[in-house]
Symmetry: C2
Subunit: 697 residues, 2 copies
Amino acid sequence: MNPQDSFAWTKFQPESFWARKRNVVLTNTIPFQLDMLKSTGRYDAFDLKWHPIYDDEPATWPVPKHLFWDSDVGKWIEGLAYFGDFESATSADDDDDDNQDSKKNLQKLDEAAKDLVQKITQAQQEDGYLNIHFTVVAKGQRFTNLRDLHELYNAGHLIEGALAYQLRYQSDDFIKPMERYIDLLHKIFGPGKEQKHGYPGHPEIELALIRFYKRTGSQKALELARYFIEERGNNEGVEGKHYYDVEAEARGESKYTLPVYYPAARSYWYNQAHKPILEQETIEGHSVRAMYLLTAVADLVILDPKDFGDKYLPALKKLWSNMVTKKMYLTGGIGAINKWEGFGIDYFLPQSTDEGGCYAETCAAIGVMMLAERLLQIELDGQYADVLERALYNAMLTGMSVDGKAFTYANQMATSAEEPSNKREEWFECACCPPNVARVLGHIGGYLWTPKTNTSDKASVTVNIHLYAAATLEYKLDGSQDTVKITQKTNYPWEGIVEFEVENPSEVKLDVNLRIPAWAKGNWEVQPKPSASVERGYLHLDTTYLKANPHFTLTLPLAPRLLRPHPFTLQRIAVLARGPLIYCLEDVDHTWVTDHFKSVVLAPGVTQADEDGELNKYIVEGTKTDLPLGENYTGLTMKNGGILIPQDDLTPVLEVNTGLRALVEGKGAVDLHFFPYWARANRGGKQQMRVGIRTVD
Amino acid sequence: MNPQDSFAWTKFQPESFWARKRNVVLTNTIPFQLDMLKSTGRYDAFDLKWHPIYDDEPATWPVPKHLFWDSDVGKWIEGLAYFGDFESATSADDDDDDNQDSKKNLQKLDEAAKDLVQKITQAQQEDGYLNIHFTVVAKGQRFTNLRDLHELYNAGHLIEGALAYQLRYQSDDFIKPMERYIDLLHKIFGPGKEQKHGYPGHPEIELALIRFYKRTGSQKALELARYFIEERGNNEGVEGKHYYDVEAEARGESKYTLPVYYPAARSYWYNQAHKPILEQETIEGHSVRAMYLLTAVADLVILDPKDFGDKYLPALKKLWSNMVTKKMYLTGGIGAINKWEGFGIDYFLPQSTDEGGCYAETCAAIGVMMLAERLLQIELDGQYADVLERALYNAMLTGMSVDGKAFTYANQMATSAEEPSNKREEWFECACCPPNVARVLGHIGGYLWTPKTNTSDKASVTVNIHLYAAATLEYKLDGSQDTVKITQKTNYPWEGIVEFEVENPSEVKLDVNLRIPAWAKGNWEVQPKPSASVERGYLHLDTTYLKANPHFTLTLPLAPRLLRPHPFTLQRIAVLARGPLIYCLEDVDHTWVTDHFKSVVLAPGVTQADEDGELNKYIVEGTKTDLPLGENYTGLTMKNGGILIPQDDLTPVLEVNTGLRALVEGKGAVDLHFFPYWARANRGGKQQMRVGIRTVD
């Protein structure tokens, strides 16, 4: 079960950290995005009439501005579908006015969703084909540019929309047309002599098809997904040539004519199609595409561990490990290079444009979460959950403003004069991130835990708990009426205490694997004390323990920590963290800053603290409330923590004894006020921000 | 007078540092290059017959493999012309066998040069046009792609060849055809309605034309050079459009069709043609092109300080300063990016391919020397001479093997698994660097000093002495028989003592400006002590002093120094220097190295030395002789100077107190043997080398 299909088991306690986020999405984000769909032409696009924007030159050649419209609609419906009725159950008092309003508001949205599904159904062609651009604008050019034109990507998001729609409205209205479309695609693509041996330039449909198979049992969907994955990167796919080469030649495209996001001719690594997945040694190219592709690969490993998994799991782990050890920011963000929205070379992790890059797209962080969650299903190992949690609380969550009304696309570690990127936008022409964040917050409950009825003994269940949140899991065992209920009471991530409450009326055999974060480094505690010890990041609580202790408490240490990237990154910095949260400096708290904190150096003493605890002698914690909607947070002030490099001492060639230490020694220090990175850019200011602060050592 | 036209005034003492270099060029490099010209087809190409290579696909689209052949021949003739008779005069005993052999050898070369000039003359077309590719291969396509096809670049190198040829052989055979070609170009290019408003994609002809004007007084050459410079980067040059756009459209080229060295469509900054020179704020693009262009600009400033200089000198200084303060390696090398062989963004100076780049082309270092020398003519300021000297002894000289038989094109600061670049090649398809090094070593004497008959008083002369070398300047005053002679006796750069001897028989008024390097930092000494003090890097020795002290001695401190790049480069390294020489580590002296010295860190104590002198407690100097041809050098051994980062301690995310200092504290140290960078890659080994060594602070 993937998070998107299991989220409904989870209820969040009102006013809790994640309930707040989901609330602003439902009350602000989704309605606003519906207005945008309408005002930009997306809403009516499935009526298949001409829109003036269809005449525009592509802003990003060869991609027309409207090319993603199908997917924007699909993602909006999907996002909405993860809210609603599921919610109201959790609401404290059903009858208060707010709740009545939100019910009305929700009805409007539901109607829009149903209306859109009708338009989509009517837009479907005789043969089952369904795509705005190739039906209205580029008639007769279907499947002539899989590499660049997002035809199958759009299909994938429509399929995911249909699956969520079915779950939410208990209706097959959207599933049916998608099934017809899948049948058509299954006819067109495949190994057969008459079939096209192609695959999408932007993976997405693969994971959608697998979800479709799991819901409906459609073998065609499964076969198609597997074909796209196994054929991908075949350099002899069509008469001994690469499919994209043949496609390009058929279009009469010169070898030296490049999409603007390609750094060189035929950079198929941008699409993870330079060689078969099994032969790829490092993770390359567009980071969202890479994550969506590998998520689908992981899905197939789960479905077919022997035949497929034995071959693909080692490749999957190799690429994951290359990514997390050499190509991931401390925020869990991925993608250093703006031009191809993707990975740079190993250890190339600049913080900002003036350092040579930093992209860390919001959608890519969501992709990291998706992939990590699948890997946790393959093997329960804390390393995956640690990355999942880091990406969730930092690289992903920073993509949305506290009020849910504005979004960032790229999430840099530092702003610069070249790119003062600490500002969110309401909408983007390529609007992938905003609805994606709405989507993931919609089904975030599915990421917290994985309950599983054990196949060996149908009356027993294992629950893997990955994340901490004020929420309740209500799980009905497969093929029985028995349910188990696990509730977490916590103010995490601000406080480290999590109280667990297990309700197991029918006394089914229940055991739990409770994640202990690597960052807790042995300073955690579970009361009452279990006998088991932590294995690969999880503490096993067996049936006996849970029966004896339906109430138990996990305490995690939240002392501020300083993190460092690998020295080969050339990033001579430390990053302040507290629990799962990465912190940053913002100009609103440091009105004196003029150079984006480039010349701030951490006072030598700070980085030489003997133990984590030692940082407390520099750092004062305080609860702050200067965020919108009364959102409060823990701010960290480093007393006399920062020293400014004297600019005059900075010459292009510095002689001996002018290391940073010597440059700042004896200079006066200033207080530094650290702020949670996810909440940056919510308090105005002049767009100056930095995560990694220079150190002397 | 530019170095190429004044070199003949300088005689080097045999067996001295530069005499050795010039000897191997004359005895090994130039004869070998003649063989290459013959075996590759270049020698006979001016016979205008078809050559099989003309059918090949371009290796670097759209540049055919043979496109630079004209310039290769021009540069070879030019290089040869700077040797020969000028030389023999300096030889200790004229009649020994070696000398007889070298005379014979020289005669062969002279004959080849004359033969080539004959071929060139015959290859010239009716109307004066002269180019192999556009006469034999691409007939009728003259001047249809100035941006990419090096048509005018080739002309420029032929012109420079002709100028040197005239000086060496006292013959106009080569000058004459070039004059006819220049007349044709002057007809074709210019502001006139019927004329092309274009300029070369690769500047070179501009400085050649100015040299041509200075020698021959040709106004057409001067006008053409000035037009190319003033029109360059005009975005409304042709009917409101950029010349290169119009040219590309005329070729029917799509906007998304790119030369492989362009990172994006119409990246005219690669050619320094994105805007007029006067509007360029930073130095951009292909570094050799940038240097050749700015050298020509400086030449015009010298020729016309008022009308042209007032406008262009500030722009010139702005670009120079951007380059030396933000885009230059400590070796004097420029160009971080391999793809466009040029500049990256400010402070982007990675040491190696695995860090994101490092190119530092040999020809670009030569360009830096040329530009610095011109700027010294405009204003005598040590900052220019310091860069000139650094580029000469490091970034340029490292391009040639000690025996003159092999060359590097790019000169990285560190090798890597991705690019073990510590190896020289005998020849390159684009053979710009080898003959360019031969050329510059041919006229290196012209860089040592600038003698000038003072316009005010024809009987007085000022000599600016920029560099130290075992050589004699013999200068005949303009319009008189009076000569002055200045001799330097020194073992520089290995020893810091330079003895000067002035011979001034006719007692003309002579004064000298003697450069004191910035790196000498007040620790230098001139004996007998003059009254004057150093101004802008030069010590003025007036007529009285020189009359009283025809023998005086300069002593420079050669204690090893550690240099650091600007912290914004993110290069947390120190570089060992001694006098003008930058040092590196090579695997031959450290057989244990396996990772290109990536995990070597300088022992904390070293970088905290209070003063330069302090380094002596770590460093042992020794004269070594393990180079070919008995070349000896001063090696520097840093006792217990290096500590290896324990690889197991390197995790992607390091927690507090795992700064480099903590990682290496208490670990055992190893000796580091530093070797002059210019002489790297002469002693075999496994191609592992590094200039900048990691530091803890």
